[in-house]
């Protein structure tokens, strides 16, 4: 099979490299400013943009067979699913239903069970 590899122009590679460097500088700068609740979302947004650039341009997913893009996307989607549903547990424990220990009634002798 004649595989034609797309050759990415050096100009684009350089631009992406510079953008990545710039984003790294921004990461360092924003890490020194306290933005309160926005700290984490901002850092993650920058990191995600960098990852997307690397995947699309350096790893050439943008030019490659789209099945490869699908494979990567599926991986990412399932990580998101895993984190989202796990956080639905860890972030909401005790936020619904009984949070106080229940008052336990003594069990009648006749039931055959021991009282707790």
């Amino acid at each position: 099979m004649a595989h034609s590899h797309h050759i990415i122009p050096i100009r684009i590679l350089t631009v992406v490299f510079v953008v990545l460097l710039a984003l790294t500088v921004i990461t360092v700068i924003t890490a020194r400013i306290d933005l309160g609740v926005l700290n984490v979302p901002l850092a993650l947004t920058i990191a995600t943009s960098k990852a997307i650039l690397v995947a699309l341009i350096f790893m050439a997913l943008k030019y490659d067979n789209k099945v490869n893009l699908l494979a990567v996307a599926l991986g990412v989607i399932f990580v998101v699913v895993f984190l989202a549903l796990t956080f639905a547990d860890t972030e909401f424990r005790g936020s619904m239903g009984i949070t106080e220990p229940a008052i336990v009634e003594p069990v009648p002798e006749s039931s055959g069970y021991d009282s707790p």
């Binding site: 599926l74 991986g75 895993f82 549903l85 547990d89 860890t90 909401f92 424990r93 619904m96 055959g112």
Partner: protein, 546 residues
């Protein structure tokens, strides 16, 4: 098996030629031998468990031994039998033939998968013999597994290594289906077995790395004391269950989807009809593969996970019933007005339909939040998952092995023996596991070696457990009988013809009785669907009566 014709079995000779083969058919046979041996081991362990529970009080195993035996039974059956068996044996043997390819996409990787699988198995067994016995159950829940014993690390490493075999196999099948189909073999002409193995492969590739990561985290915690699951170190034990079930629920679909694929092919061939709802069956496999990733929390309703996530997981669990129901209805519809031929493989297909439906419906029952609070960790759950794993996945495998046996070995087995064994298996299975629904709904807990304490309140526990144990012996007799007539058939069985069932997929219509090393003499050109029985009989050969 001395045969005058040239085929994959006699193409090369000697043990070495088998251990270094890259022929997908021979690798399938290697898996068959390995999984068969592990099934025997797991089965013997199960007999110990059932014998201990046959009568109240301590009978043959002490409580620690009991815990060790059911743990090894679970680990062997899940990781060394049900997960690898169908893709490893029948996926390898049949899938390339069904798509008209001369091998899988990466034949060497395929052999490497088998060696990884064997390495994992060897680690599990050696760990058991020389390091120590694990008693955590196959689920390795923390804090049991984060306790003192290093044996857990051995066993979890074994699972890690065997997991890679599963990933490589999945990868191989995905690429094979995408890249190696014969001309004319369009996606809507793929046999449903191949569709099912394809959907399974997606799950294998996406889910299995997570069990690997989980085992690595367990390792890091034990060796480096990083707090991940252990509250004493600042970890969260319930997090382990999230990790574990994020793999292991999809893994139940790694077990059942291939079996569903076998059943679809059997239903078509032995009803001599186009499989009803072909597209729906094919796509419901894919739907199950994806939905299967969204429901893992139904194993954790009483773990202390948040009420919010329990509600979400319970609702998502109900959704799985839809694609599953689609399949069951279509299988029944395939038989409707068909010419149903009750040969041994079809008996197993019908058995699957019956047993899997019970397993699936009880799955919906335990998926109901309030009901599960009562049933969790009782024998009801044990009955549920044996109906799906044994009644579903394993019965499907046995049916598939009978169906493809003539292709794999060139011999027929004794049909009468096949029918008798099938009846024994059916009776034994239901006696063993249906009783456990009663036991569980009355509250008999799982993983206890003795129930004499409960007898005062529930005297019927004794009779029910005894029935279950007797059933398991009948089941065992049925299974041993299959082994015996299979071995007998290898030596003395009458020679098979190229297409004894009059099936119309490529492995039957376009290969020799026992396929040649290279599968097809010429690349097949596919001009019709996999179940086009409405075309004239002379295309596929008339249905044979015997």
């Amino acid at each position: 098996m001395s045969d005058t014709s040239h085929n994959y079995l006699n193409a090369k000779k000697g043990l070495w030629s088998w251990l270094t083969t890259t022929d997908h058919k021979r690798i399938g046979i290697l898996y068959a031998i390995a999984c068969g041996a592990f099934f025997l081991l797991g089965g013997i362990l199960a007999t110990f468990v059932r014998t201990e529970l046959g009568a109240p009080g301590e009978t043959i195993l002490g409580q620690d031994e009991y815990n060790q035996v059911f743990t090894l039974h679970g680990v062997v059956m899940v990781f060394l039998v049900i997960i690898p068996a169908i893709p490893g044996i029948l996926g390898n043997f049949v899938l390339p033939l069904q798509v008209g390819a001369n091998d899988v996409a990466f034949p060497r990787l395929n052999l490497a998968s088998w060696y990884l699988f064997m390495a994992g198995a060897l680690m599990a067994v050696c760990g058991w013999l020389f390091v120590g016995k694990v008693d955590t159950g196959w689920t390795f829940y923390t804090p049991y597994s984060s306790g003192a014993s290093n044996a857990v690390l051995w066993l979890t490493s074994a699972v890690f290594v065997a997991g890679f075999a599963s990933i490589f196999t999945g990868l191989n099948f995905i690429v094979t289906v995408h890249k190696m189909r014969a001309p004319g073999m369009t996606w809507n002409r793929l046999p449903l077995f191949t569709w099912a193995i394809y959907a399974t492969a997606i799950v294998q590739v996406l889910a299995t790395p997570v069990i690997g990561i989980t085992m690595v985290l367990l390792f890091l915690e034990k060796l480096l004391h990083i707090g991940i699951f252990d509250p004493a170190l600042g970890g969260d034990p319930v997090l382990f269950q999230h990790f574990f079930w994020f793999y292991s629920h999809p893994a139940v679909y790694i077990m059942i989807l291939p079996a569903m694929g076998i059943i679809s092919d059997l239903m078509g061939t032995f009803s001599r009809q186009h499989v009803s709802g072909y597209t729906f069956i094919a796509l419901s496999s894919v739907a199950i593969a994806f939905l299967g990733f969204l429901v893992w929390g139904h194993h954790m309703f009483v773990s202390g996970q948040s009420a919010l996530s329990s509600i979400i997981f319970s609702m998502l669990t109900f959704l799985i019933g839809i694609p599953t129901g689609i399949k069951v209805f279509n299988w029944v519809a395939t038989m409707y007005k068909g010419s149903v031929w009750l040969k041994t493989p079809m008996l197993y297909a019908l058995m699957f339909l019956f047993l899997f439906t019970i397993g699936g419906l009880t799955g919906i029952m335990v998926g109901v939040l309030a009901v599960d609070v009562h049933l969790h960790d009782t024998y009801f759950v044990v009955a549920h998952f044996h109906y799906v794993m044994m009644g579903g996945a394993l019965i499907g495998l046995i049916g598939g092995l009978h169906y493809w046996w003539p292709k794999m070995t060139g011999r027929m087995y004794n049909e009468k023996a096949g029918v008798i064994a099938a009846i024994l298996v059916f009776i034994g299975f239901n006696l063993t596991f249906f009783t456990q629904f009663f036991l569980g709904s009355k509250g008999m807990p799982r993983r206890y070696h003795d129930y004499s304490e409960f007898l005062e309140t529930f005297p019927e526990f004794a009779a029910l457990n005894m029935t279950s144990t007797i059933g398991s012996y009948i089941l065992g007799v049925g299974l041993v009988m299959i082994l015996i007539y299979a071995l007998y058939s290898l030596v003395r069985g009458p020679r098979a013809t190229a297409n004894p069932w009059g099936a119309c997929t490529l492995e039957w219509t376009h290969t020799e009785t026992v396929p040649d090393e290279h599968n097809f003499h010429d690349t097949p050109l596919v001009t019709r669907g996999p179940y086009d029985y409405h075309l004239a009989d002379d295309v596929f050969g008339p249905k044979k009566e015997s």
